[in-house]
């Protein structure tokens, strides 16, 4: 991972939120630049190569969406994470359609933010076109759409496979419940129930029961992480 790809531009006009973001991201090992309005964002975004740009939808001068479009028109391909207080589905979809790569609704947890930044930053790296993802003794075959541990096939329903694939693609990274809903079920709202936990629970039983070590780990209050021990 090159230095440039650990650099993040935060576009946020509220000083306190901006301060928290900068502090949190710096602690997590990112180099962070801050832009307090749309104009600064445009000039900084053009001047440097960022791994991810997080952008608030409501900015004092230019609307976040407009800033994003402008940068896309200028040929800047950096992934955008939209952070917005407007949580409704229409706003989310509009944000994504305008060139955003992911969104986060205020209030959010920093762990969720980090999880999403990791996923986005990874997208901007050149991903090897693997056909089999391997995590410990788990093999996820993306062509045959089957999973196995130590050569023994795990019987999975299509959605269960998609879930495991998404976890495997983000190996070692925390994946939030909202991210699972968004990427596995294409749902852009947060269900009020613990349905995702129940669902992951079943996948976990299929994957981890009677194995040498567990692969799917619950990250308290946030979501899940697929990783091999050691």
């Amino acid at each position: 991972m090159t230095g440039a790809h650990r650099r993040i531009l935060v576009v946020e006009d509220d000083p306190e939120t901006a301060g928290q973001l900068v502090e949190e991201l710096t602690t997590s090992g990112y180099e962070v630049d801050l832009a307090a309005n749309g104009r600064e964002a445009l000039s900084q975004g053009a001047a440097r190569d960022y791994a991810v740009i997080t952008i608030d939808r409501m900015l004092p001068d230019i609307d976040g969406i407009t800033v994003m479009r402008q940068m896309r028109d200028d040929g800047i391909a950096v992934p955008f994470l939209i952070i917005s207080a407007l949580g409704e589905v229409d706003d989310r979809v509009r944000g994504l359609r305008a060139g955003g790569d992911d969104y986060l609704v205020k209030p959010f947890s920093f762990v969720e933010l980090l999880a999403r930044l990791e996923a986005l930053g990874r997208r901007s790296e050149t991903v090897a076109k693997e056909t089999i993802l391997r995590v410990g003794d788990l093999a996820v075959d993306l062509i045959a759409r089957t999973a196995s541990r130590r050569g023994r096939k795990i019987p999975l329903l299509p959605k269960e496979f998609q879930l495991l694939e998404y976890l495997a693609r983000n190996e070692g990274r925390v994946v939030s419940r909202a991210m699972l809903l968004q990427h596995v079920w294409d749902l852009h709202f947060d269900p009020s129930t613990n349905i995702i936990d129940v669902y992951v629970g079943r996948v976990r039983r299929k994957v981890d029961d009677q194995q040498a070590y567990p692969l799917i780990h619950t990250i308290r209050g946030i979501g899940y992480c697929l990783r091999a021990p050691g």
Partner: protein, 457 residues
């Protein structure tokens, strides 16, 4: 005060315009009557003069100037022709016969003329005459005329009567408009005053009815009904507010207590981590509840039709069933999808997913552990139908209307996790899609059907 309001009211202004237009029309009618009467009367008078002229012409034709002079002399003394004037003049305008001493200046030309003159037979001085002049074949000029003072007086009377009638009508109309407007303004003012009082003091007051069953009573009745409805809605809002307060206070109190206890206890990394984790989870639940409330309000108030596509209900229901399969398995409930292979509706996939998910979630939670939950999609003759049925204890029929209210929880499910918002969301989604919700007794259990309107083709 009331008079000023009356004169300034729009009703009165309209009445004034109506009076103006009406007055113009009445004046026009009177003018027409006046002019047609005038021409009729004048016509008759002129014809009488022409007949007289004809008989004089005849005398002249028969026996020349001598015969004509004789007839004129005879006419001048005839009582029946007392209101006539005659004058026969030679070429030098010297009078030859007749009861006029000299040729009237106003009748110097040929044809018809009106002129004033005094007649010996008339007691009153001068009179208005109308006459016709002709030149005879020997060059003499003959004037035959008649007193039209009576006619003039008659027309003046008609004119006076007409003007008086118009003025009287306008005056009466104005008085009537002021009266009616005043009554209207008075009633409106009464309603206004009560409205102001309601705004100031509260929704308890109502506008009194007069019992006349007229349009004013109907307005008052409708306003009262509106006030009733507002009062009910305000009550609902208050109830929802209290429910929110209650449902929020519970986790907040829990969090506060937990934090307070931890604050006074010696630091212990493991215990602190667990406490912070629990608190974040509780906080997320509270935020989730807020999100649900705003989501329902948003669905209820907006027209999201713009984002509608043709979607296959079976596909969405299939995804929901798959998502909830694990949850059903946990309580050993059998969850299955049945019905037609493709049921199309025009709608929003995310919202429909959310609604169906809520119904399935309810069916699993409130159904019988180890029971069956069946999701059926059908193309009914009336439109697409999706039904979710469980075989649990069901809901008493008298509760059917209540379960769609926000935060409504049946007594039996007070302690089941949930926030009482699920069916409100289903109701909001259904109403946005124009769908009807039906609750039925599944004997045993509850059958909930969403009936979509027939597709427009």
């Amino acid at each position: 005060m009331l008079l000023a309001k009356t004169l300034g009211s729009s009703t009165f202004r309209l009445a004034l315009i109506a009076i103006g237009v009406f007055g113009l029309i009445v004046s026009a009618i009177f003018a027409y009557v006046y002019w047609s009467t005038l021409s009729y009367v004048r016509d008759r008078s002129d014809r009488a003069i022409m007949i007289e002229q004809a008989s004089l012409d005849e005398a002249y034709a028969r026996s020349g100037r001598g015969g004509l002079t004789a007839l004129i002399a005879q006419r001048v003394v005839d009582k029946n022709f007392a209101d006539h004037v005659y004058l026969l003049a030679g070429p030098g305008s010297a009078p030859l016969a007749g009861n006029l001493k000299q040729w009237p200046a106003d009748a110097s030309g040929q044809g018809w003329a009106e002129f004033r003159t005094s007649l010996p037979a008339l007691s009153s001085g001068s009179a208005l005459m109308r006459g016709v002049t002709e030149t005879l074949s020997n060059g003499d000029r003959l004037l035959v005329g008649r007193d039209i003072s009576d006619l003039d007086g008659f027309m003046a009377q008609i004119r006076a009567a007409g003007i008086a009638a118009v003025l009287l009508i306008i005056g009466l109309a104005a008085a009537a408009s002021i009266g009616v407007t005043r009554r209207t303004v008075g009633r409106i003012e009464q309603i206004n005053a009560i409205s102001r009082a309601i705004m100031l003091s509260g929704l308890d007051q109502r506008i009194p009815l007069r019992g006349s069953h007229d349009e004013w009573d109907r307005v008052a009745e409708n306003l009262n009904l509106m006030l009733d409805r507002i009062q009910t809605l305000m009550g609902d809002v208050k109830q929802v507010g209290e429910n929110i307060a209650h449902d929020l206070r519970t986790p907040l109190t829990r969090m506060r207590g937990r934090l307070e206890k931890a604050y006074h206890a010696p630091r212990n990394q493991q215990a602190d981590a667990a406490l912070i984790g629990d608190t974040i989870a509780d906080l997320d639940a509270v935020l989730g509840m807020f999100a649900s409330i705003t989501r329902i309000s948003e669905i209820e108030t907006r027209a999201r039709k713009g984002a509608f596509r043709i979607v296959n209900l079976v596909e969405i229901a299939g995804e929901v069933v798959e998502l909830y399969d694990a949850a059903a398995e946990e309580v050993t409930t059998h969850l299955e999808l049945a019905g037609d292979p493709a049921v199309q509706v025009t709608g929003d996939r995310d919202l429909l997913f959310d609604a169906i998910a809520n119904l399935v979630d309810n069916a699993i939670k409130h159904g019988r552990p180890g029971g069956r939950v069946i999701v059926t999609c059908d193309n009914d003759e009336n439109g697409a139908v999706i039904a979710v049925a469980d075989d649990g204890p069901g809901i008493p029929a008298e509760q059917y209307d209540h379960v769609f209210k926000r935060f409504y929880r049946l007594e039996q499910s007070r302690y089941t996790p949930g926030n009482g918002l699920g069916l409100s969301l289903v109701a909001a989604v259904a109403s946005l899609h124009g769908a009807r919700i039906e609750l039925r007794d599944n004997a045993p259990g509850l059958l909930c059907r969403l009936v979509f309107p027939a597709a427009e083709t």
